[in-house]
Symmetry: C2
Subunit: 182 residues, 2 copies
């Protein structure tokens, strides 16, 4: 039965990503319907909306970690890591973006996950500074924000049909490092 449970949990989480991506205010009934699962069954695995949101956040973090780790396995430099990571994250942005505006981010596990992600990114940026990719005079905190928001910009461009994910990632990386001047 354990396997079945996992399968059902995964289906619910997957459905939640799809539904909430398109409408962050969707009801749990919508999620259950998308997962082809009874509403009661959803409540058997997730106590309520908050529990589900927390699980989604942790799942999203795992997905991101896995994608980034896979994409950066063969990278030699931190600069390469950042560029490859950007390519890996951008296609996942659509699934996870609704979590950033989620008000239920008060759980300690969630805040810790976010803190860890930001800290790791800041670390890589600091290392890339040492490699000469970023100006040491530009605050690392700013580069972190710019990195994350240019990913969002790339995703928006893809959604608008103005670029492929690869092109968007390329533009985001170019803008972050060299800007858009000639």
């Amino acid at each position: 039965m354990r396997d079945k449970d996992v399968s059902k949990i995964d289906r619910i989480l997957e459905a939640a990503f799809e539904v909430f991506s398109q409408n962050p205010g969707a009801s749990l009934a919508d999620v259950a319907k998308q997962a082809s699962v009874g509403r009661a069954t959803l409540h058997r695995h997730f106590a309520g909306r908050d529990d589900l949101m927390i699980a989604l956040t942790l799942t999203a973090a795992k997905e991101l970690d896995a994608a980034v780790e896979d994409a950066t396995a063969n990278c030699q430099t931190y600069t390469e890591r950042l560029e490859a990571g950007l390519n890996a994250i951008l296609p996942l942005a659509a699934r996870h973006m609704f979590l950033s505006t989620d008000p239920a981010s008060q759980d300690p596990r969630v805040t810790e996950v976010y803190a860890t992600q930001t800290r790791d990114l800041a670390h890589d940026i600091d290392m890339a500074k040492a490699e000469g990719t970023f100006d040491p005079h530009v605050p690392t905190e700013w580069i972190v924000q710019a990195y994350e928001n240019l990913i969002y910009a790339g995703w928006a461009t893809v959604v608008a049909g103005d670029a492929t994910p690869k092109q968007a990632a390329s533009l985001a990386w170019r803008t972050l490092t060299k800007g858009t001047c000639p």
Copy 2:
């Protein structure tokens, strides 16, 4: 009584900006309370949540237009206009950001306002391209997205206490044009 009405509408709109900025899902009762106004009075001026959101969007657009127009009055070039506009918009981002994730953006007036803003921005960027500020090979649509999202990044940096609005605007402009490389 006309003056009183305007005053009350303004108070409601101002309260709505404050409340929704901190919690986009707040109830109309919260807004009325913040405005020191009866809930019924709010409904006398705004038919419902959608109406209020539309009014907020149009008000925000006016505020942005006014701020940008004022800040760019003495600009000689489109490049200067874009940089000055960025400085003007960034402090207002906190008030308006919740509107970008608002699902009630299906009203024709709202979509038209957004379309106009984006079109004007794209026009200025095209002109700045001609001035040599942006690489003509970089799609204008991308620069629009980067411009808007770097404003958001700047606002986030200010909120985090890592920069003043002026510093954040400067970083955003530098990143958009020259990037963050040394």
